[in-house]
Symmetry: C2
Subunit: 503 residues, 2 copies
Amino acid sequence: MNYSVKQMHAFFNPSSVAVVGATKRINKAGHVIFKNFAENKRRGIFKGEIYPVNPNEESILGFESYPSVSKVRGDLELVVIVVPAKHVTDVMKDAASKRVRAAVIISSGFSEIGNHKLEHQIQDIAKKGEIRVLGPNCLGVYDSRTGVDMLFLPETRVLTTGDEIVATPRPMPGNIAIATQSGAFGVAALDYLTGLQMGVSKFVSFGNKCDVNEAEMLHYLLYDEETRVILLYVEDIRSGREFLEVAEKVTVKKPIVALKCGRTKAGARAAASHTGAMAGSDRIYDAVFAQTGILRAKDMEEFFDIGKALALQPPATGKNVGILTDAGGPGVMAVDECEIKGLNVNRFSEETIQKFERLKKEGRLPKFATNLNPVDLTGSVTSEMFEVAAKILFEDNEIHGIILLGLHHTPALQEDFIDRVARVASKHDKPIVACDIGETEMALYTRSRFDKLGIPAYFSPEDAARSMNALMRYGLYLKKKNCLKEYLQRFHKIGGKQQSIPV
Amino acid sequence: MNYSVKQMHAFFNPSSVAVVGATKRINKAGHVIFKNFAENKRRGIFKGEIYPVNPNEESILGFESYPSVSKVRGDLELVVIVVPAKHVTDVMKDAASKRVRAAVIISSGFSEIGNHKLEHQIQDIAKKGEIRVLGPNCLGVYDSRTGVDMLFLPETRVLTTGDEIVATPRPMPGNIAIATQSGAFGVAALDYLTGLQMGVSKFVSFGNKCDVNEAEMLHYLLYDEETRVILLYVEDIRSGREFLEVAEKVTVKKPIVALKCGRTKAGARAAASHTGAMAGSDRIYDAVFAQTGILRAKDMEEFFDIGKALALQPPATGKNVGILTDAGGPGVMAVDECEIKGLNVNRFSEETIQKFERLKKEGRLPKFATNLNPVDLTGSVTSEMFEVAAKILFEDNEIHGIILLGLHHTPALQEDFIDRVARVASKHDKPIVACDIGETEMALYTRSRFDKLGIPAYFSPEDAARSMNALMRYGLYLKKKNCLKEYLQRFHKIGGKQQSIPV
């Protein structure tokens, strides 16, 4: 294993790029991809040179078109190939003669449909020509900061009514990297993260992985300053040894959350006919993930939920949860989920209980509030009460993480409770996650405000509990590896929990 | 067990109601509740007479105020009591002398804080006076059709900025009834269902259940024509015998979905300090639910997801799932979740596979589409392709339910695929659920359009699979009870899957 970070830069921040198969025909992949580069260049986001390659055009979108890669004037670092599979070998040979450094092959029609021979030819040319290859049969790269955008799905589409509507949005810059074997899932993930206002650093779709694989990409992302969390979707991992080595190096610095599909027999069969994945026993993957400290999500929602938690909050130093709520029922739900996941929801220490009792006597907490864990501030809760109660839990060293269920429906609660709690949280290293239930205005505002202030908010108590579980599991892994302290120092140095979602 | 449906009508559709503790002071519960009735009466939704009861006021919101219940002129069917706990016995005595039929006691301060004596007094007065009681310590009733609205939380609230914002919305009329032990969770559920445009028939919060309990309410909802599905949130069930008897009667006619919290040791302890619930062993609840055909949701999200599926779609007659997708990865996720839940994702019959092969040869399906189950129509999918592929699955008698993963991001897919698939679905009794991943415009449109056309849509493949699982589990229960045929006939008679969400 001897990966070069520098080589990989060509994919994410090339000084020059040619789009082979660029065309004027809108809706064609070759048009959309070249247009993405052209627009991002005009906006000043993409700083490199761009060249359309198409022998049948004089110019495309105002850029002079070249008949072939080797005819491009000046150096060329990256080619994006969008021509039919049968032409790809010629393009690759031409690129090798031009001393291109990297190629992204969007085109499909290779090993995924049994055409292994063609894929081997590509591999040979690439190896001889020292060209690094991403794909084939992939969606390529999207980088929110450099303006590299190879997604051939336009951001908006036109409905049959003539209305234009957002269809495949690009998320704002952020700290989450997405590395995915399934292109379709990757695009859906971008749509999901955009809607939840979660920022993305880099997006990369592997496709058939004929050269660059997960292991090398993880290694690259380890050194990527913009990336704080890596979301990895895989159906199979072929170079197991390398993967193990790299993953162990990465997870002591940055969390990796994995969604590994094909878990069941029928699922594995489906994966095989999707990407030709040799899924293998799911237990082996469980073992690999556990050994390397990769957090395995049980489903899509948990995948994103955990990613958000780790992007915004530090891992916990232990497994004791303190739950603070204004709604009894949802409090019970959170307790159940914590216990099921193996976390502790212990009765608070006498000292902490006495602190609550004192505040109750002083009339600063509701008389009938319960305070054994959960703390239930009841429907009489006010912003001040959430603030003082949160403070007590943050100051209790026996509690390693806090779940705040701030249901907004209670009549006396003003929305400034969010900012008040966030202010308390900012003074401590202890992780906190939040929940408000509902899908109309005030609930959306509440969760979004929490997110903005760096407290990941969820729409069910169980989601919040599962996210806290990930923060605790990851913290315990780092502790075992003697890396927790260092991680926490770095976490707070690179912005801390308050600044990780740009507002 | 000898429940009277007629008695219960007084709670949901009273000919006359007095709000005891009505006041002019806004934000007070007594104000909000009376205002709800007054506004719904002015709008012509609430048809009964309304009386504010408050000895210190001449009139409230233009209605003459009465010093006591017994002073109200004319008959009085229902009283809603919002005065402090210590005054409730007097109000109840007065109500008995007035021959009031039913009372909702919103006030708290009874057995939930250990004041059992006061609650027993209330019970005695009610029994002697033949008054049926809901509560105390509850949120009462909301009926989307009769205009009964006892929720003391106003629909909108004013932020510190001065902006008015939707905070506790009332959902539109629909077929889902909510019966809940936790008031706070109940309100959150209304917020959630409103946002997802899921209609509600009736909402009832039990509180301390000093008289009317779950069993009697389930019995009432069995005969309620507006209710198709019952969502039941409980922390404990005290009258087990009655509950068993009623639940068995109900579930052969209408599905009950239960969210039973306090599953774990710590959860049970939390429930005990919330509603004084004696949660008991969770295994007993599992057994009760299984025996009575109640579908138990594992968490809040599944609770609502299953409710939506059963409100819109018929139960399945078997466990074989057919999956239709345009995205391989999400297809694999759905397969995994189906298998984990014990459903079958079998390879299609030769006949069905041949049908797909024929369409591929004719160029009506993509050449590289896979068709073993899932059917993956790939990124080349069009509306017509989804339509013809869905038709094949609907016509295959070995498939009992269909999961459609219609990810909108594929470039050639027009939004009319939703209507086309719904048209095919409307010609068959077989259940179908859908999924599109994403949280921006087109994804929201896609799911909402599916919902509108009676196909419940979910935001993850696993959610869709879990909902199909509920339709299959419920179908098998009905089959075992020899009630499936009858249920299906009734299901299609009362509107069928296309009309169950009013648009």
